[in-house]
């Protein structure tokens, strides 16, 4: 195996009495695709938040290509090529769909955004339009983002994360809140774009069908701990995973049906 792209070692994070991360050790190789599963509150998003610099772990270190990034702010982590999307799409609702992408382009191109040049150059506009066409929202480019559907907002959110070159992309529940028939096309689109950049992908997911289809490696979280790490077949057959993750997942769905 290659030297790890990201190595998280012994991460611990507590919020009062809640242990959100308990000695989490995970290594991600360059270009690898990893699915993260776990019931609500298992520490999946906390892990993503620690790797991307939003939360500082109480203990443990995070290395990127061997260099420590544990206490870096999100913008510096992002500049290294560790980029993320969000469980709830994080857009700029006061700007048009196209301006959302233009802002992402400008932020990615320049460490310090210029105050005297023009943002909407023809080169940037062409790039933005191409991105919008690829995710199929070019017809709504001049509309504010709240007019997009839930699925379109998620796609735009992922597109914003992918505007810059990424070495690793962390997707927090990319298919949550999306209709069943939209899930697979969305993931296809994302995985295709990721493959073109040969970036590693880490995605948090509740849908086991999506996990089995896209993740050659799966990590299961339970109460802040990693309880299984391996191929989907092995992980989903694990007795702990069955009890705490898949079982909880079925329970969750049953609740949903009842409600």
């Amino acid at each position: 195996m290659n030297a790890p792209l990201i190595a998280a070692r012994g991460l611990c994070k507590r919020f009062g009495a809640v242990v959100a991360a308990d000695n989490v050790t995970v290594e991600i190789a360059p270009g690898e695709t990893v699915g993260i599963i776990g019931a609500n509150g298992a520490g999946k998003t906390t892990f993503v938040n620690m790797v991307t610099g939003y939360l500082k772990p109480d203990e443990g270190v995070i290395l990127f290509r061997g260099a420590e990034i544990t206490r870096m702010p999100p913008r510096e982590v992002t500049r290294l090529g560790i980029r993320r999307s969000f469980q709830v799409a994080q857009l700029f609702p006061n700007l048009s769909v196209r301006d959302n992408v233009l802002v992402a382009l400008a932020c990615t191109e320049q460490t310090r955004p210029t105050p005297t040049a023009i943002l909407r150059t023809s080169a940037r506009l062409a790039k933005a339009n191409e991105i919008l066409a690829r995710i199929g929202v070019d017809g709504l480019a001049d509309r504010p983002t709240p007019e997009l559907s839930q699925g379109q907002r998620k796609l735009l959110d992922i597109a914003l994360a992918m505007v810059g070159r990424s070495s690793v992309l962390l997707l927090d529940e990319p298919t949550s809140g999306i209709s069943a028939q939209e899930k697979l096309p969305l993931m296809d689109l994302v995985m295709e774009a990721v493959a073109a950049e040969s970036a590693a992908v880490l995605f948090v997911e509740h849908d086991m069908e999506v996990i089995e289809r896209y993740a050659p490696r799966v990590i299961a979280f339970y109460e802040g701990r990693v309880i299984a790490d391996g191929t989907p077949l092995a992980v989903l057959a694990d007795s702990d995973v069955k009890r705490y993750v898949v079982g909880a997942e079925l329970h969750r769905r049953a609740e949903g049906v009842r409600a």
Binding site: R75, Q90, F92, N94, A104, A106, P113, T114, T116, L119
Partner: protein, 312 residues
């Protein structure tokens, strides 16, 4: 390209019309454009969510910098004084910006108000600066020449108009620049901006310095135009008036503050002349009318026409 060209045409028209206007109108527009500069800076800040109730700090600093340079150092060149006012305010804004760029919303508003009141307090207690009476400035010179009253007033008007409209052009470019649009993005989603690799604090700091600079330039211009400065320039009601006019004008376009301050100064002058005891009420009712009928400010009158024209 339409906005810079329209602004250039407006500038040319105002400069040509200057000598033909009655002197009260020349003075009214000079004051309006000097204050309009402060509101222009506020427009840029408000687009990024920074509503300052303390622009009087930089307005006062710019005015006192110009006044002290005149009276202590004997500098009377109007352009040098305006540049000095801008530099002093920009430098102060840069230093205070390290603190201010960390605050938002009501905390930012109150802290900016507090800072301006500190300057007010210092000015009021400084006997050497004339305390509450302030002090007078001799008439300015232009490139080493002093002119008689009417010509001098026209030249100050021309300088103010050029600086105000020039700043509007520059800031039109700014609000369409990466830094300007990212400022708007910060208004609704700071976290996402950070996760795109850009420092939110850095952009807000820059925006804050722009607001300080235009306020300082406006302060220096008002000192030269009025020939008198006093601590009221830094008082909180002065700062409040700038926010008032910014809301009245609307923040959708850089020409709005210049139009807004001209309308505001005109309404106030006429209200003061025709109903000296109730002029504040007239101004207040005008504000209510604008909020009711033009929630996006006076500028929406023009913006609407543009859009209708575009659709036709």
């Amino acid at each position: 390209m339409r906005t810079p060209l329209s602004l250039a045409a407006l500038l040319a028209a105002l400069l040509v019309a200057g000598p033909l206007m009655p002197s009260w109108l020349v003075f009214l527009l000079t004051v309006a454009f000097a204050k309009g500069l402060v509101v222009l800076g506020l427009l840029v800040m408000m687009r990024a969510g920074l509503v300052s109730f303390g622009q009087g700090l930089y307005y006062g600093l710019g005015a006192y910098a110009a006044g002290l340079a005149t009276n202590l150092l004997g500098v009377t060149d109007a352009i040098a004084l305006v540049a000095l006012g801008g530099v002093v305010s920009a430098a102060s804004g840069y230093v205070l910006g390290f603190v201010m760029a960390r605050y938002r919303e009501i905390f930012f508003a109150m802290l900016s108000l507090a800072l301006s009141m500190i300057l007010y307090g210092i000015l009021v207690r400084s006997a050497a600066l004339g305390s509450t009476d302030g002090f007078n400035l001799p008439p300015p010179s232009f490139f080493g020449f002093a002119f008689d009253g009417q010509t001098s007033r026209l030249l100050v008007y021309a300088l103010t108009t050029v600086v105000a409209i020039g700043s509007a052009m520059a800031l039109h470019r700014f609000i369409n620049s990466p830094a300007g649009v990212i400022g708007e993005a910060i208004l609704t989603n700071e976290i996402r901006v950070e996760y795109l690799g850009t420092s939110v604090t850095g952009v807000l700091h820059l925006t804050y310095v722009i607001g300080a600079t235009t306020a300082g330039v406006g302060g220096a211009l008002i000192a030269i135009a009025a020939g008198h400065i006093d601590p009221d320039l830094a008082y909180w009601t002065t700062s409040g008036e700038f926010v008032f006019v910014a809301i009245l004008s609307g923040i959708g376009h850089v020409a709005a503050p210049l139009l807004g301050t001209a309308v505001f100064e005109a309404v106030r002058s006429f209200a003061f002349q025709y109903s000296p005891y109730t002029w504040q009420m007239v101004v207040g009712i005008s504000m209510l009318a604008v909020i009711l009928f033009l929630p996006a400010g006076l500028w929406s009158l023009f913006a609407r026409r543009y859009r209708a024209g575009g659709a036709a």
